[in-house]
Amino acid sequence: METRPLGETGHDSTVMTFGAIALNWLTQEGANQMVEHVLDAGVNHFDVAPTYGDAELKLGPKLRQHRDEIFLGCKTQARDYEGAREKLERSLDRLGVDQIDLYQVHGLEYEHELDEITDDDGALAAFRDAKDEGLIEHIGLTSHGSPQLILDAIDRIDDLETLMFPMNPVVVGKDDDEHDYAAVLERAESEGVGTLGIKAFARGPWGERPEADRPFANWYEPVDRPDEIRERFDFAAAQGLTSVVNPGDPKLVTMVVDAARRYDGMDDAAQRALVEKLRHEESPVPEQLHH
C-alpha cells in the first residue's frame, strides 16, 4: 500500500488509516481478526479514541502484539490540563501500551475551545509535558469545524504536527468559505503538517431515520457499494491528504482496504465528474440540462 510522509513527523503513513472505532461493534475475536486483516493489507496507521465505546480495549491485545508495525493515533475531548492528562493516562492504560505515537485534540468545534486548549492550564500544555516524558511522540488536532477555525489552530499551535478534517467531493464542490477544507489542506502542506481525511465516504445525513433502524453504525449515511467506496477513496487520496480514514462501520472496512491497495491516482476530469454528479444528485430540483 502506498505510503506518504505524515507532515514532518518522520513517519510515512499508509494512504489508508484504520479508524479503530470499527472494533467497537465487534467481539474481541472479531476485533482481533479485523486488526490482522488491515495489517495484512499493509495499513500502518491506526486511529482510536476513548469515546469509541470499547474500541481501545478491543484494540489492545493485537496492538501490543504488533506494536512495532502500528503508528498509533489517539485523542481526547478534554480541553484543560488536568482532564487531558487523566484521559491520556486512561487511554494508555486501556490500550496497554507505554506510548501513543500521535495524541490529538479531538473534535475542536468553537473558537473558545481554541483559547482553552492553548491556555497555560490547557490541554496542549499537558500534551507537551507528556511529550517530554515520552508518553506521546507527536501532537495533532481533529475537527469537523469550520475551515477558518482550523486555519486559526494552525496559526496558534506552533508544534502542531497533524490535522484530521473532512474531505470529500461534496465539500470540494461547494465553493463557499464554510466548506473550504481545500484551503486547510493547502496551508497544512505548506506548514509541513500531516493531513488525515475523514468523512470521505459520507453520502449525506440520515434524515428522519431513527438510530435503531439505521443499517450502518455511522452518524451520517455512508456510501456502501464497492465502486462508490473506491471512487470516494480515490478522490480523497487524490486531493493530497497524507491518509484517508475508513468509515466507522466494520462492514465497510474491507472495501476501503481494497480501494486503498488498488489506489493509483485519479485524474482531474474524473474528480470533477464525481463532484458534479453529487452536486446534481443533491439538487432537489433539476437545475438545468447541462453540467
Partner: protein
C-alpha cells in the same frame, strides 16, 4: 455556486478586468464564474425568459453584469467589443446551421486578440444508457419544430467551425470524463420533451410520449462520455 467544470475551463483564461460575453447563460453558472474570476463586466446572453430571470436573480443586473435577452445569432452589442466569450454547454442545443450563425455573430463582437472558450460534450459512446434519453428528446423536438434538441459535436468539429470563423485553437482539455448523467438530468430532458410534444397528436408523437412515460430516470442515468473545453484566440 460555480461548478467545477466552469472553474476548470476558466482557470487558464485572462478573465480579470476583461469584458465578457456568456453566450447561452443557462442558470448563470458561467456568468457567476466570470464575475468571481474578476471580469470587469459580463453580458449574459440568453433567449430563454426563465434562464434570463434565473441569471438576473443570481448575479443581479448592474455595474458588472447585464442579462441580455437575445438570440445568440443576433446579439445587440457592437463589433469588436468583447475580450472574452464563453459558450459553456451552448453548442449542443444548436443545430448545425444555428451553430454556424452563432459563431459568426460571436466572432463579430469579439475584439482583436479576444479569447473564446467553448465547452461541450463529445457524442455519447455506444451502449450509453443516456443515448435513449437523447434520442427521445430529439424525436420530440423534431416532431414539434423540425429540429434536433441536442447535437453532441465532437471536439474536432467545433474546433473546425471556430477556425473557419478566424479563431486559432490554443488548447483542449477534458472537463469531465465520464460525464455524470444523473436522474435529475434525465427528468429535466424528459420534461422538456413532453413539453415539446404537448400540442402534437399524431401517431409518432404518441409513441414518443409512451416511451417517455416508460423512461425510468434512475435506470436511464449513468456515467458516460466526455465534456471538453476548447480555448481559442483571435489575431490581435
Amino acid at each position: 455556486m460555480v461548478p467545477t467544470t466552469v472553474r476548470a475551463a476558466l482557470a487558464d483564461q485572462p478573465v480579470a478586468d476583461a469584458v465578457c460575453l456568456e453566450a447561452g447563460a443557462g442558470v448563470g453558472n458561467t456568468t457567476e464564474g466570470l464575475l468571481a474570476a474578476g471580469a470587469e463586466r459580463v453580458y449574459a446572453v440568453t433567449d430563454d425568459p426563465a434562464h434570463a430571470r434565473a441569471t438576473r436573480e443570481r448575479v443581479g443586473d448592474g455595474a458588472r453584469a447585464a442579462v441580455v435577452r437575445a438570440d445568440v445569432r443576433a446579439v445587440p452589442l457592437p463589433d469588436d467589443s468583447m475580450d472574452l466569450i464563453t459558450a459553456h454547454g451552448l453548442c449542443n442545443v444548436l443545430p448545425p446551421d444555428a451553430l454556424d450563425a452563432a459563431l459568426a455573430e460571436l466572432s463579430r463582437v469579439a475584439a482583436p486578440g479576444a479569447r473564446l472558450v467553448v465547452d461541450d460534450y463529445d457524442p455519447l459512446p455506444a451502449g450509453a444508457r443516456m443515448r435513449e434519453v437523447v434520442a427521445l428528446a430529439n424525436a420530440a423536438s423534431d416532431l414539434s419544430s423540425g429540429e434536433s434538441a441536442l447535437t453532441f459535436y465532437p471536439a474536432r468539429h467545433l474546433r473546425r467551425v471556430c477556425e473557419g470563423w478566424g479563431w486559432t485553437v490554443e488548447r483542449e482539455t477534458t472537463l469531465l470524463e465520464p460525464v455524470p448523467w444523473t436522474p435529475a438530468h434525465v427528468r429535466a430532458h424528459r420534461d422538456s420533451a413532453r413539453e415539446a410534444l404537448a400540442d402534437e397528436s399524431n401517431a409518432a408523437a404518441a409513441a414518443v410520449r409512451d416511451a417517455l412515460d416508460r423512461l425510468d430516470p434512475t435506470r436511464a442515468a449513468g456515467d458516460a462520455g466526455r465534456m471538453y473545453s476548447l480555448a481559442f484566440r483571435r489575431p490581435a
